[in-house]
Symmetry: C2
Subunit: 212 residues, 2 copies
């Protein structure tokens, strides 16, 4: 019974992996669009995100049917965990869309001025790193990678604080609009990493220990 | 069997109602603290939020045990919906805490300057209105109230856009820091209403039609 349950969990985990890859790609596109003011690329983010939302519904339906057939115990907890992971992944896709929308809104200007380019390049890299780790953690059932996400999130939080230091210093040359854009974009990246940490926590519950 | 399930859902719905009341109170406290730069009141928001988090875990445990006893069908969907509602309510509590933290960070100054006070008073009222409606929608199983939340959310979105118009106009007198605070605070209120709309949607699924 328990083995059968885990067989049935496999296609659900596959969906979560595809979702994780798609939200990674969505934020990659959004970040590249942000750093180069690329309108066409920013438009594509919505396409990646739509795929994520569809997959989220597929996970919901599959979990629903799975629980109906295998109620109770650890199995139930794994199945509910998959739902939570899907919700976090959907939100990561939404956050990539919010970054892309800022690009579209400011085009043909850039949404980040030269003073913030390096910080946003670093935040983009940090976002890509956490997204890459949740793909691997889900694919290889790797608890070590999942456990590293807290440290990666600390690195993102540090960049987020540096961003505010730059914008709120007396030498900030770019004015109010650029600071408002910077504050919101910074928050999108920070939340993206928070949700990735949540997915990592879910992986630890979703994926049984290898010695199980 | 079905009747028994609904009997067991009642204490879960009670928890959700208590959570909704607590997140309403948390945002009330945070808003009052924001509008009057009240340090002590801002500190109390974390207390209300801690209650919300505890109740969220209680809902999770109860749903877990309920599903174990009554798997399958509409009952399962109601139980899973309660989990999602709890997650949205927890996030509403977190957003109240973020508003309170902005108050603590700027104290003894105010986090919103006089140019934004009226807008934030209106956003606070809008937040209180949506929170009040989800309390009632959950308590009275009122689908009409739940359905009104989309319109209330539109009103919040309009206030949110007005906020940016004020801050990004050429006459904005308060500088970068006040605009950054305003942008983030505005986003917290807007997201609070978004999560309330989600709770409203869950209520429609959670609560069976009265003619059922």
């Amino acid at each position: 019974m328990r083995e059968k349950f885990h067989d049935e969990l496999t296609p659900i985990t596959s969906c979560l992996i595809t979702m994780a890859k798609a939200v990674r790609e969505a934020m990659r596109q959004a970040s590249a669009a942000l750093l180069t003011a690329d309108y066409t690329l920013a438009q594509q983010v919505a396409v990646s995100d739509a795929e994520v939302d569809v997959l989220g519904r597929v996970v919901g339906d599959r979990v629903f049917h799975l629980i109906g057939r295998h109620p109770g115990g650890d199995d139930l907890r794994s199945a509910l965990t998959a739902l939570q992971a899907a919700a976090d992944l959907e939100r990561m896709g939404d956050l990539a869309v919010l970054v892309a929308r800022a690009v579209l809104r400011r085009y043909p200007s850039t949404a980040v001025g030269p003073e913030l380019t390096e910080l946003f390049r670093a935040m983009s890299a940090a976002a890509d790193r956490v997204a890459g780790k949740i793909v691997l953690a889900l694919s290889d059932r790797d608890e070590v990678l999942a456990g590293q996400l807290d440290g990666d999130d600390d690195a993102m939080d540090l960049l987020h604080r540096q961003l505010f230091e730059v914008m709120l210093s007396s030498e900030w040359p770019l004015g109010v609009e650029a600071a408002v854009d910077g504050a919101l974009l910074g928050r999108y990246y920070e939340r993206y990493a928070d949700h990735a940490v949540n997915v990592g926590r879910h992986v630890l519950l979703l994926v049984p220990a290898k010695t199980d």
